[in-house]
Symmetry: C4
Subunit: 254 residues, 4 copies
């Protein structure tokens, strides 16, 4: 196996294709968003797998069958007038610094192979607390895009995200722009503590406005409900632990 190996699974003839990347990250917002799109677009077709020696050296098991760590790219010929989509997701990011650069280059090579000129990197920005109505923050390679994004409810806040954008999503902007691609990062606000389907939904809602497609959100809303229950239980447990601690303090002083 080469250091990075691209397996051509199938071909697709896409028009005006846009790459949408959603790898694991804060709140898994990007990954949840892309996985939701893969479920909702029945016509999604696996076109490429990317294997790399910088991925964790492991296989995942499902129904007893092993699968080597990889990133998948699916092609979607969308029903409407909007652009076709290349959806990129996986379970892992690079385990090495240099690997992030070289993997992102491989992903952009594949995108350019399909004629892609516009790239969206999806992720989460941590707020440190549960957010009722998460906003979508943006970052771009070229400021000419900002107005159109603000019209689609993307917020550009001064000094945010603090610390920039790390990992493949950041490199999609950085390396994508150096290739002359139109690159945008959309980040849903999320606590940072839990996987966040609600944040994934608001990010897709922005994409729907920009790319003129429409998907159903019931599956994501159900998962958001589940997460709200989980979050509630965690808060209960934390309060119980704090009261026990107070009791312990009393006994100690006594």
């Amino acid at each position: 196996m080469d250091d990075i190996e691209i397996e051509a699974v199938a071909e697709a003839d896409l028009s005006d294709a846009v790459l949408i990347e959603g790898l694991p990250g804060v709140g898994n917002v990007g990954k949840l968003a892309v996985e939701h799109l893969l479920e909702e677009f029945e016509e999604a077709q696996l076109v490429r797998r990317v294997y790399a020696d910088v991925f964790p050296p492991q296989v995942s098991i499902e129904d007893g069958v092993a699968e080597l760590t990889h990133t998948e790219i699916h092609a979607v010929e969308t029903p409407g007038d909007g652009p076709d989509l290349l959806l990129l997701t996986g379970d892992h990011q690079s385990q090495s610094n240099e690997g992030h650069y070289h993997l992102t280059d491989a992903f952009l090579d594949i995108a350019e192979e399909f004629g892609v000129e516009q790239v969206f990197a999806l992720g989460g920005v941590p707020t440190g607390e549960l957010v009722d109505e998460p906003s979508v923050l943006g970052a771009v390679a070229d400021d000419a895009r900002i107005e159109e994004l603000e019209d689609a409810d993307v917020e550009f806040r001064d000094g945010e995200p603090a610390g920039g954008i790390v990992g493949v999503s950041g490199l999609m902007l950085g390396l994508g722009s150096r290739r002359g691609l139109d690159a945008t990062c959309l980040m849903g606000e999320t606590s940072g503590y839990l996987v966040d389907p609600q944040s994934a939904q608001v990010v897709i809602e922005v994409l729907q406005q920009l790319l003129d497609f429409e998907v159903d959100f019931e599956a994501l809303e159900d998962r958001a409900e589940e997460m709200k229950e989980v979050a509630g239980k965690i808060q209960e447990m934390q309060q119980q632990q704090q009261s026990i601690a107070s009791d312990d303090d009393l006994r100690y002083i006594g």
Copy 2:
């Protein structure tokens, strides 16, 4: 020395050879199993050594003589009708992420050189507690194999092993299957705390059914007895420490 160097020590003309890999891991189950086969098959002949700059930079010493870290592959022309065997073991795995991939590729290159079409990766799956009658869990590259393995008492449990399979054993499945090899991982249940000869034995018993060979188990059973004694003493010591701790608690409150 090249990054990975394969030393051809001898040649062997094998028919219908099967690779069996047993490197250090959970409970050292795979390593113990392969070492036991090497002891029992007197006709085992060292054919290859693999050196690599991703192995720990060290030599082991035996009778004052140094040996550079390496993986060994022995060829066994088995007495019966069953396939011949290529037995792979060593004291260390790769120290780097990328190294796991490239070493496994080297091992599979050697296997293919000997006409191998089927690969077994042996290991342990940790249960967290001592197990009286360990089962053997399985994972495959191709689900067509599952039935035959279940007939040989291999269990396929939903969601296990949790977290997939990490290291060379997992890559044997992942990279092996991408080369069109028939790859299976057999994992004996083990506590995860101790080296486990009993678990190694049940794994070999499965292999015996599948590959039509037979070995004696006395040496492994003796080691299993020793380990039971060691496990017993550790439990005693832990109970003593806990009672001392209780006494300390009493003195503290007093």
Copy 3:
């Protein structure tokens, strides 16, 4: 993107150019110094960007626009008779050991492209406490330079800096000298706890003597005043915390 990629942004015809390097380090002395020179020399022109897979895989965001981690080199055709300047700075150093060597080589390649024969690496040397009147310590590739530097108020103290000089500044000396370049490291004394504009200023004052240029220091002096206030507040907070701790001790014994 290659492992190290040099982007030629513009060209400049420099005479007798000197490279001045100021990357992040102790007290950020070198970085502050070069950034100050970039502000003061209006004629500074960006000539090169250096990208590398050993830089953190991230983009910084300013006004919503992303920029991939890189090192910048600006050319300054200085007004007076002194040499022209190549000013090198950035937000990050290499994240890998080998990367430090290869990046420094790339920086020196660029310097040689512009006919540079003399190199200054700027940094800080930590004293462990706030210093009222920081000195500038020196280290050279060739002892023939020591006298001229001492005349410019650079101090060469026996055994300092203890532990040598680590990172790109040290390699500027080491690799620069092996290329036959005249290389000097100037290190302003600094506490090591805070970013230190005052230390940056004394380093520039030495450079002014050596390279016959002149800049205004008001901006740096303003920042030094701010840092003095910050340092004062931190000392207050520490004293308050210590007195609270003492009270706690009393309550415990009581």
Copy 4:
């Protein structure tokens, strides 16, 4: 600079040369031994410097002059009938796993360039406590050498050194033997807590027997005296701390 760069400083016509390696390690025994030989053999001539991107990216400073991290090899045309010597030492070992292998290969390439057929790697073996009369333990690439070494007072103890030999000294044996070189590791017993000139001396005494040379030991004996004083003071301080701790216990219970 290449990944590993060998600088030819001078040439020497050696007869029957033997390589003696002493890099930093346990008790710095090997390094002290080789540095002592370099002081005692006035005719020692620097022939090679080895630079590498796996060495720490730093320069050491002496009298204000910087020197890039490197390993040095000196040639000694010894006065007597014994073999000439190639003495290898430095301040650092590789910072990466793979680097140990590639550096050792570079060192052995240089040795073979000078017609070396025999290699001695010097080091320390930690005993965990101060040793009055340290022995020298041995390990070889070829057991044919054991008898001659035992005649020179080298001890071969079963199971020692436990854990084998790690780093360049171990690889000198492992890679040296794979090149057909006669390789021996001599390890002086040492506490492991302190630099140990006495252990370095006993190792050199063995080499004197084997290689028919003679050096004076006064400088090493002086340093051994200093270390004994330092060791004594450390023991005093530890005893004082323990008695203070006991007093604290009494106050606590009271």
